[in-house]
Symmetry: C2
Subunit: 204 residues, 2 copies
């Protein structure tokens, strides 16, 4: 049992150790680092987290995290508002934005259907997606969920919910990743990459 010389220290270390992937020794190291910093710097650290949690907003259209009622992407008239890319969470939005290959809008589900974890469609932003497709001028819904059993289940569920609307429904391509070695690629991915082969194009 660790004997702390200070309750203030113990509480701070305990709080850090609640974070995922942060053990007791790392927590202690981080707290002692903060103790050596300026009081103002430590206040800035603590307040940035408290303010984020207190003032955080989620876009009333796509549910992405946002500082305003409607996020920058949904409010941007130069984006293609007829295309919705459905993702699990905000990290996926950031990852796709970083590719600079997509100019449509997003819809953040907030997870995938997972009966094992007790997560059903009503726990996700499914209804608002259906309403966006039914009421808006939407041409295409791109399903960009994780290539897992839960992701596939969710894709299938969303397909059933949206197929009546007549919207075009696509999924992101699955195949061998850039710089992957074929011999180490799993059978399902490799098989799919052969079935879904595309014409060879020489870029000029």
């Amino acid at each position: 049992m660790t004997h702390y010389p200070s309750q203030l220290l113990e509480r701070a270390v305990d709080e850090f150790a609640k974070l995922p992937g942060i053990g007791g020794k790392t927590a202690m190291r981080l707290v002692l680092h903060l103790l050596r910093q300026d009081t103002r710097a430590v206040e800035a650290f603590g307040n940035s987290i408290i303010r984020l949690r207190q003032e955080v907003k989620f876009c009333n259209v796509c549910h992405n995290i946002s500082d305003t009622e409607t996020c920058d992407i949904c409010a941007n008239l130069r984006r293609d508002h007829s295309t919705i890319c459905v993702v699990e969470d905000i990290q996926d939005v950031m990852a796709i934005e970083a590719t600079q290959q997509y100019r449509g809008t997003y819809h953040v589900l907030g997870g995938v259907i997972s009966p094992m974890d007790g997560i059903g469609p009503s726990d996700l932003q499914v209804q608002s997606l259906v309403e966006r497709v039914e009421t808006g001028d939407i041409q295409e819904v791109i399903l960009a969920l994780s290539p897992t059993m839960e992701g596939d289940t969710t894709n299938f569920y969303l397909y059933r919910r949206l197929s009546d609307t007549g919207v075009r429904i696509t999924v992101i391509a699955r195949g061998v990743a850039q710089n992957d070695q074929l011999q180490y690629t799993d059978e399902v991915t490799l098989g799919r990459s052969i079935v879904n082969r595309t014409p060879f194009v020489v870029s000029s």
Copy 2:
């Protein structure tokens, strides 16, 4: 370049990424974890760190971190106040306390002499150690610094500063660690463990 959907989010992630050993991706993961927690839990986290930094005290005798002017160890009359164990920082105090093998007091230097890093004796709590030995009824000073060149330099410097007082000066034993394999122990440690061998005692 990462494009954040929210400045509040970006600021919180940046603050986390300033911590040693925490990269951008880990910072993002930790912040998103906090976003999913209760507002109260996040306030408790942030405030525990701010309060620690604002209210932290250091013992006016041994310089260990403390919630009171004099730390629990220095204020404890059942400890042996004639023995001072000199350590680098408060983690060392906690490590030695955890062994339950020491009943004396401590003196936290706040580092070791390191000319390369520009740390000299005046940057450490050396003067107050000398004063404790000169004015108190001190029988023994145990030097428990890191077994490094800087630790050895500091040991030698403290020895010179304290030798006139006539106090007994000892250093913690260096030797093979419990469960270490001899063939993988470095030469200096193994050599020292032979020179400083102790009588074999059968515990009853």
